[in-house]
């Protein structure tokens, strides 16, 4: 038998390779045995409401005073654990009332009708089709959801830089300067609270849409607010936009707000 130096080295190499192969095979076999038979599946609820771009139509003719807005704001604050801070600078707002000249500064004439000048307008995040806050966010904590056009916040990712607040022309975002928990009137256990150092805003009730319910404010408004798919020509909101004169906030900025106001 030819047992040259080269042959011996080859054999040594091969046997060491064989030795390392066994534990690898063992690990694979163990993995196979441990793996459950089928893979888990993640899916959407069948009840979920779907749209290409959710939109809201606010019939401002139906709202006359602060009292008319109150129940809508209250229900939102309640289900989303929105804190009530007395200090104006620390205030957290998801949906609130603002005077005409703040809501539509570009459309405020010199001599307005008494009623329009003094009544509050319902304002919230506009869920813009071209949202500047999303572009400003360095961590993609705020994002425009592809599936239904809602501008959402991922609070887990928010680093509290507040670029989005600077970018939003509607002041729809609030920053938690303090731990909000002590200021929540009654904690709703079905929804998380936020923590100090994150930005928050209206989420178009994405958690309710996911289980087939309309946003809480729309439900509480009893027909004064309308909600639907902007890109469905048959939808209620499209019908209203077609048949009424509607305006949007600061339209000239090109953010394409999805909240329409019938005036």
């Amino acid at each position: 038998m030819d047992s040259s130096r080269r042959r011996v080295l080859q054999l040594l190499g091969l046997s060491s390779l064989a030795l390392t192969a066994k534990p690898v095979f063992n690990a694979f076999a163990k993995e196979q045995a441990h793996a459950e038979k089928t893979e888990p599946v993640i899916k959407e609820s069948e009840k979920a409401l779907k749209a290409k771009q959710w939109a809201m139509v606010i019939d401002t003719r139906e709202f006359h005073s602060e009292e008319d807005l109150k129940p809508l704001i209250a229900v939102c604050d309640k289900i989303h654990n929105v804190p009530h801070l007395a200090n104006k600078r620390h205030e957290i707002k998801w949906i609130w009332g603002a005077p005409y000249h703040n809501t539509f500064p570009d459309k405020a004439g010199r001599f307005l009708s008494e009623e329009v000048e003094h009544k509050p307008f319902l304002v919230l995040c506009n869920h813009c089709e071209n949202p500047p806050c999303v572009r400003a966010c360095p961590t993609k904590a705020t994002f425009k959801r592809e599936s239904d056009g809602i501008v959402l916040m991922d609070f887990h990712r928010c680093i509290g830089c507040r670029f989005c607040m600077a970018a939003c022309p509607f002041g729809a975002r609030s920053f938690n300067y303090r731990d909000p928990r002590p200021f929540i009137v009654k904690i709703d256990k079905n929804f998380p609270t936020r923590m100090k150092g994150v930005v928050e805003k209206c989420n178009f009730c994405s958690e309710r849409l996911a289980v087939g319910q309309l946003p809480a404010c729309v439900e509480a408004a009893e027909g004064k607010l309308h909600f639907g798919d902007l890109y469905d020509p048959e939808s209620e909101v499209r019908e209203l936009i077609k048949t009424n004169y509607t305006i949007r906030r600061k339209q000239q900025l090109g953010t394409e707000p999805s909240v329409y106001y019938i005036v």
Partner: protein
């Protein structure tokens, strides 16, 4: 080598001090805690995945749930056994494991991990009213 005795004494003192924590705490190691199951969790018998998987990978599972729910809006998890679950820490996990102090905190404290879930998520939906 006339300083030999000083050097040896110094070395011995150093070794004693350096190894002090080891022999002082010898035999006093805290036993690994066993998570307590509530009656409801016991009755359910199975979690969303096997016990071994949950022990080792619950954080990855929660991370997956979080991304799926928050970013994609997909909220239903069909486990390998075919059972459907709503992916929610407060409303699904803590529904069975309503004893956060005995179930979550014990092991987390033992392993010295401090998950910040509870800064926002309501820690005990069933306990508090």
């Amino acid at each position: 080598m006339k300083d030999k005795k000083f050097i040896v004494t110094g070395v011995i003192i150093f070794i004693v001090i350096a190894t002090f924590p080891f022999w002082y705490n010898r035999g006093k190691a805290a036993p690994a805690p066993v998570p307590q199951l509530t009656e409801k969790a016991k009755a359910a018998k199975v979690c969303v995945r096997s016990t071994e998987y949950m022990k080792a990978e619950h954080m990855q599972l929660l991370d997956l749930w979080r991304d799926s729910v928050v970013r994609r809006g997909d909220r239903i998890y069909v486990s390998p056994s075919g059972q459907e679950y709503t992916m929610s820490l407060s409303n699904t996990c803590l529904d069975c494991h309503s004893n956060k102090a005995e179930f979550c905190d014990r092991c987390h404290n033992y392993a010295s991990v401090r998950p910040y879930c509870w800064n926002c998520h309501i820690d005990n939906p069933k306990e508090k009213t």
